[in-house]
Assembly symmetry: C2
Homo-oligomer: 339 residues x 2
DNA sequence: GTGAAAGCGCTAACAT
DNA sequence: ATGTTAGCGCTTTCAC
């Protein structure tokens, strides 16, 4: 490694002290404007780059925000991250992103890594697996703010940003009913996490409200396209087949729909289908999938903003708020019956 | 921020010196095994966490690898990153990931940020836009190794990991010809970057080799589904329509194919289509898309391994190698003609 | 096998 | 407006 230019080198070059250089470099207005200009020019010329470690060591801050998400290969998550990155970089923070791959152990491990690398704050979307979240306590103890989004715990000292899953699911199910579906089915994953638990609640409420409607539930092992196909085979083998399906996620919905078609069902006339998330795939499958548009980018922006806000007013107690984002139901071909 | 436990606290507690504690903590075998055990236990009990900044400041290494990619919301990229993360964490490195969003300016800015945060090494997949890559020179100057993968420059002092785009494209085109396609079309993006330039070359070579075959090219403005749809409309409006299309990417291919169907074309009988990447969408669209399987995870692993290797043998000259990964052609319905 | 001491580059309280 | 000074917590010679 070559020798790096330090503020001392600049100071010596200019006949100043290191502190003056330090102050000048961060634009402190207490320093004479001419001096500031001189310092900056010299720094440029000498190829100076600030040493974040020395600075972090001194200030005990890292200007880094940790992000833990189940996976980052969904369109929804990309949108969330893009929103976060925007807010973070605008406020001088870097993002460290890690995936839990839906495993509680990996989530815990990532949390520990983040903790040890001393992120200033943490943004988390939880795994489907249930967890006691104990590994986030250490952050609370050190007054490191945590913000949850999308997949959030029911009860937490930290801020949460979610969409109204219950309401969205209720609307989706009501829509199916309005399309003359009477034997409703909800395909989801068996999880206590809000997103799926609340969608189930919304489904059940809508079914309960409507006479002449029955509702049942099938649990997928995971939220993949392949699982959707498997479920479709199960459905095809049922004696009392559903005529309207609300699926907790577009990927599963697509797999399910395509396989149902292969099994000879007409979509939406034999079976109407609604998904969730407005993943690009929902617009690509044939027929196009009705779904719920969940504003990921906005969720990311709000979550990151909340965190940055808490970071600014340090020493304030951590904020425990719960913000609900509006979603929007999108009707497409998969649930729009001709009858 | 609460007071953190330091090695001095542990040293005092145990009546040792800080140096001994430091050595014990990193498992230095010169320290008595009993002492080591005692130190570790005490560290645990006191909630010690190592301060990476102090350590980095001292050792001038960050144990961090920077990654710059065009976007991370494709399945291919997720696979690459997963492979890298695996190798990195196995070797004690963290990954900092950033997106260039296909813009040279953002790529340059990301490179500078990475440089200033003193990543130990850099892994890059370039933008489609052409660039002089000058912003990577600073890494070479400081002997910070850079490794390119997938989208790589033609001529560089750094290592490159690519698939054989030319050969894969050649095979894909030959396949179309074997399906009795005679008016071939290549849909790609107008870029000098290897992936697209080489695919074009492969296409052209295959066409040139076959008598009775004509080949033409349409450039998409970007590699999106929507662009594919637009191109399809162009094709539908052509006088001399193609009967076989090789598209540089599955997303564009899907958009194109679905829109062609809407315009009344039978796929594959009127027009056969082949994509590239084996994106999950290629298996979801109807008809299923023939494509080239490009092993992303493997590419990520190899690139990260190469970097780690170079990091280990520091002071060695940077390695300038070019490794070519094998891809695999997958034939599905979109190009398999009944005739 | 263990300790003493110096210093990595920066910041911030306290001078002037 | 600028300088002096004292660390932040760790690693690493060089001693013993």
């Amino acid at each position: 490694m070559e020798k790096e230019t330090t503020i001392y080198d600049i100071a010596k070059e200019l006949g100043l002290s290191a502190s003056t250089v330090s102050r000048a470099l961060k634009g402190n207005t207490i320093i004479n404007a001419r001096t500031r200009a001189k310092v900056e020019e010299c720094a440029q010329k000498m190829g100076y780059r600030s040493n974040a470690f020395a600075s972090n060591l001194r200030t005990r801050r890292t200007n880094t925000i940790g992000v833990i998400v189940p996976r980052l290969d969904s369109n929804f998550m990309s949108a969330c991250l893009a929103g976060m990155e925007n807010v973070a970089s605008k406020n001088g923070y870097n993002l460290i992103i890690s995936q839990s791959h839906e495993s509680v152990e990996k989530e815990a491990q990532n949390a520990i890594t983040m903790f040890n690398s001393r992120v200033d704050g943490l943004i988390v979307s939880l795994t489907v697996e249930h967890s006691d979240l104990a590994y986030f306590n250490q952050f609370a103890q050190k007054k490191v703010p945590v913000v949850y989004f999308d997949r959030v715990p029911g009860n937490t000292p930290f801020a949460c940003f979610v969409t109204n899953n219950e309401k969205a699911a209720y609307e989706a199910t009501k829509h199916l009913i309005s399309q003359n579906c009477a034997r409703l089915l909800h395909v989801t994953v068996d999880s206590q996490i809000n997103v799926y638990a609340d969608r189930k609640k919304g489904f059940e409420r809508a079914v309960a409200e409507s006479k002449n409607c029955s509702g049942s539930i099938i649990y997928a092992a995971s939220l993949t396209f392949d699982e959707g196909e498997k479920i479709a085979l199960e459905i095809a083998a049922m004696k009392n087949q559903p005529d309207g399906i609300f699926v907790a996620n577009d990927l599963v919905a697509s797999g399910c729909m395509l396989q149902l078609q292969k099994s000879g069902f007409q979509i939406p006339d034999d079976i109407a289908i609604v998904g969730f998330n407005n993943d690009p795939i929902s617009n690509i499958v044939s027929p196009k999938l009705s779904t719920v548009n969940y504003p990921g980018r906005e969720a990311g922006i709000l979550a990151a903003n909340s965190l940055v806000e808490q970071l600014k007013n340090e020493n304030t107690a951590l904020k425990s708020q719960r913000v609900v984002l509006e979603s929007e139901f999108i009707i497409r071909e998969s649930s729009l019956r001709s009858t």
